[in-house]
């Protein structure tokens, strides 16, 4: 029975101690859940396990023998396999071919031996009870769930001797439907019955409660606890995940009365968003919370008009928004996207250009000719407003820290004089200092009368900034609660409210 010991692993990124002396034992034959809030150190731990990152301190031992660090090939040879939430499937190839991506195709006389290829794939599928999947079918025909199961079965093809024994699954159900998740759980059960171990990382409490034999909680890079499931439970896990005080991080909540309603959302459904109703008043910060995949981001995109509405409407200052993102920006909605590198910034271009991008028309001389001086003036004015730190405004954005990149996007959003700000994970990948400044900025903007809708996976942030928190469940805006007096545990419980009931039934 193999056993992998992680011994006092530590990893520091700049000023952040992402992992701080974490020790853990992973065994075959059990599901070990790894829990923690964003930034608790889960991803760092997984990257170290995969050999993609080198720990500053600590060691890994397989059955007592030291493993080389930062060596993906060695970790693979040690029998570890990684299943990520993003699917790495080649949709044009068949199921069997996808299962042979990382190993040679069986050959006969130099040509592909299709019969053996399909038979090997079928055998591996059968071992996990997936006989219903035809290895000859193109991957395109399969849903996201089945594609993931194929990926798992692919690790079993033709393995003799050094068979994989430890599966690290990082939010495997993030892109799956409930039924698909069910099938994944069956396969996990089958793997464990056949002696494999699973390190299961998920935010979804019901899954963890149901699958895990042991639960480890990380917080702020430190190991909090590892307990058998019998000795812990939802309340205890949540308590251990969140047990900290972050009160100093957030600016004082202002006490004055909110302004009139500026944004109304009625029965809105679009993309993954199934329904949402709320009003936003001037000066209000509405947090949008929920597990990943619950429709937080879709809500913002639907308001912006980037996702076309199937039903319902969005009104800004009483008038309906129907013209998509261009009209939304023009009417005073501003959006700061979640993926600032791919959806937000032109990384190679200067700060000035990035700030001015959506405002080139109004800035142009005679409505036609670009005016670099006016652009620079705008960038400077807004840069000061968001406390942007850069050597010069001609600096390329890729040279800035994550926090300052985020501020460039804020400067861009503010340059048009918006009425409502839509923020998707405004402090994702931002260090604690810049985080504090962004919180102050958001608060200051709301004091100036802007309405803010802020989707976030960071509970302290939601509770510390928001006036009210909208809880998303399964694509629906399920309820809106006042943030004042709400605890992290209380909010987290609302994420799972429905799920918990369904599972009990």
């Amino acid at each position: 029975m193999p056993q992998l010991d992680l011994d006092t692993l530590g990893r520091r990124f700049g000023a952040v101690q992402a992992l701080d002396g974490v020790s853990l034992t992973l065994r075959s034959g059990e599901v070990h859940a790894l829990m923690g809030e964003n930034g608790a150190g889960k991803s760092t731990l997984i990257r170290i396990l995969a050999g993609l990152d080198r720990p500053d301190t600590g060691a890994m031992r397989l059955d007592g023998n030291s493993l080389p660090l930062a060596n993906p090939v060695a970790m693979r040879a040690a029998g570890l396999r990684f299943i990520h939430q993003e699917l790495h499937a080649v949709r044009g190839l068949s199921v069997a071919e996808n299962m042979h991506l990382d190993r040679p195709y069986p050959r006969r006389a130099g040509l592909v031996h299709w019969r053996k290829l399909n038979a090997d794939a079928a055998a591996a599928l059968a071992r996990l009870g997936l006989d219903r999947l035809d290895p000859r079918r193109p991957m395109t025909d399969l849903g996201a769930g089945d594609q993931m199961l194929v990926r798992i079965a692919g690790t079993l093809v033709g393995e003799a001797g050094a068979a994989p024994w430890l599966y690290v699954m990082d939010e495997p159900t993030a892109a799956l439907t409930t039924a698909e998740s069910e099938r994944l759980f069956e396969v996990i059960g089958e793997l464990v019955r056949q002696g494999a171990g699973v390190l299961y990382v998920s935010h979804r409490m019901p899954e963890v409660l149901r699958l895990a034999h042991r639960v480890t909680v990380l917080r702020d890079g430190k190991h909090v606890s590892t307990r058998p499931m019998a000795e812990t439970g939802q309340d205890r896990i949540i308590e251990e995940m969140t047990g900290r005080s972050l009160s100093g991080l957030f600016p004082e909540r202002r006490s004055d009365i909110l302004g009139e309603t500026i944004l109304e959302v009625h029965g809105l459904s679009a993309g993954a968003l199934r329904s949402a109703d709320f009003d936003l008043r001037a000066g209000e910060i509405l947090g949008v919370a929920g597990v990943s995949g619950s429709g937080r981001g879709a809500l913002l995109r639907a308001i912006l008009g980037e996702l076309r509405a199937r039903a319902g409407e969005v009104r800004l200052d009483g008038r309906a928004l129907i013209g998509g993102p261009a009209q939304a920006w023009a009417r005073g909605l501003a959006y700061v996207p979640r993926e600032r590198r791919s959806e937000g910034l032109m990384l190679g271009r200067a700060i000035t250009e990035n700030v001015a991008l959506p405002h080139l028309g109004p800035l142009a001389r005679a409505g036609l000719f670009l005016d670099p001086r006016r652009q620079a003036g705008l960038a400077e004015e807004q840069g000061r407003r968001v406390r942007l730190k850069a050597a010069s405004l001609t600096q390329a954005c890729e040279e800035l820290s994550g926090g300052n990149q985020q501020k460039v996007l804020f400067a861009r959003a503010l340059a048009g004089g918006p009425r409502v700000l839509l923020l998707d994970e405004p402090t994702r990948g931002v260090d604690i200092g810049a985080r504090f400044e962004i919180y102050r900025l958001i608060r200051q903007l709301s004091d100036e009368g802007l309405g803010v809708v802020m989707a976030s996976s960071d509970l302290p942030e939601l509770l510390g900034l928001s006036d009210r928190v909208a809880v998303m469940r399964d694509g629906r805006l399920a309820e809106i609660v006042t943030a004042e007096g709400l605890s992290e545990a209380g909010l987290l419980q609302r994420f799972y409210h429905q799920d918990g009931r369904e599972n009990a039934a």
Partner: protein
């Protein structure tokens, strides 16, 4: 249902084209002689398009094939002038194609230049070299050995019609051999399947540990050699070589692959589908010429038909994704 229309709509369109010509040209169109003639007319295009499929499978393409074809023809002809033997001259011309293709591969894969830019540049380079090598002149007449020119005109006899021998052209045979070879490489070797994996999801291919760089680099050798071979076939057919004679091949070859892609599931490039695309273009050209349609009008018609086929296929696909 949409899938069926999409899959067989293209085929139905092709049959409609054939039917149209069969009705309008009852005497000449559906004869063995005409079809053998078409097969010879498209043989060079077929070779270029088949090898083009190899790189398009990875989502790349090669714009330099036309000027490579010209260059290879010129190289062989210049060697003929030096009284080099036919086999050696042919091997040298194919060698030039191999080197040119590998050079494209290095630029695209190792240096990391977009295929569009890299092969646009080598298009100019190859074309320039062809002018330099040939001194800008057409090489013809006694300089070209008779055996070389005879090859394209010859072929095994397969029957008699109206007292005249029915010949299966040698060029057609060459094209068939190339297509079978490329089919085996793409569909029956793990090398070819890896190329499809790169085209389908290069990130997945990289994560699975495939040597993406080498695969991409080597695939360009196919287009280089294919283009050179087509250039030789052309030179043999007209028994002469000049530095611009292959120029038309590139756009038509890419068009043929795209037409073929409209016939396949998932819109993947596949060599047999490419062959169908080549035949459609060949049949259109042949039929319209026989109907005495002005050659400029012909170009407009052929372009429009490509747009309609690829456009309908794109619309069909959009419909599919919206449903999903």
């Amino acid at each position: 249902m949409t899938g069926i229309i999409r899959r067989f709509g293209g085929l139905a369109g092709m049959l409609a084209v054939v039917l149209f010509f069969a009705i309008n040209l009852p005497e000449t169109f559906l004869t063995a002689r005409n079809w053998l003639n078409i097969s010879q007319q498209v043989s060079m295009l077929a070779v270029v398009a088949a090898t083009m499929t190899v790189v398009m499978v990875m989502g790349d393409f090669d714009l330099s094939v036309g000027s490579m074809a010209s260059l290879a023809g010129v190289v062989a002809a210049v060697l003929f002038v030096q009284e080099v033997s036919i086999p050696v001259a042919i091997l040298a011309a194919l060698g030039v194609g191999l080197l040119g293709g590998l050079f494209n591969g290095v630029m695209v894969s190792l240096v990391g230049i977009l295929p569009f830019v890299a092969t646009l540049a080598t298009l100019t380079v190859f074309s320039g070299i062809a002018f330099v090598v040939s001194d800008g002149r057409t090489i013809f007449g006694r300089d070209i050995p008779a055996a070389f020119g005879d090859f394209a005109r010859g072929g095994p006899q397969i029957g008699m019609v109206d007292e005249r021998a029915l010949i299966l052209p040698n060029l057609t045979l060459v094209a068939v051999v190339v297509i079978v070879l490329i089919w085996i490489v793409l569909e029956q070797t793990s090398y070819g399947r890896r190329l499809y994996a790169i085209g389908g999801n290069s990130e997945a291919a990289r994560l699975a540990g495939l040597p993406v760089m080498w695969l991409r680099l080597s695939a360009f050798a196919f287009t280089g050699v294919g283009a050179a071979l087509a250039g030789l076939m052309y030179a043999s057919r007209v028994a002469s070589a000049n530095p611009t004679q292959g120029d038309g091949l590139m756009l038509t070859a890419i068009a043929a692959v795209f037409l073929g892609m409209t016939l396949t599931r998932d819109g993947q490039p596949r060599v047999l589908a490419t062959l169908a695309g080549v035949l459609v273009l060949g049949v259109l050209d042949n039929g319209l010429t026989q109907m005495r349609v002005d050659s400029y009008v012909r170009e407009v018609l052929v372009g429009a038909i490509i747009l309609i086929a690829v456009g309908l296929s794109a619309l069909g696909r959009r419909g599919l994704t919206r449903r999903a």
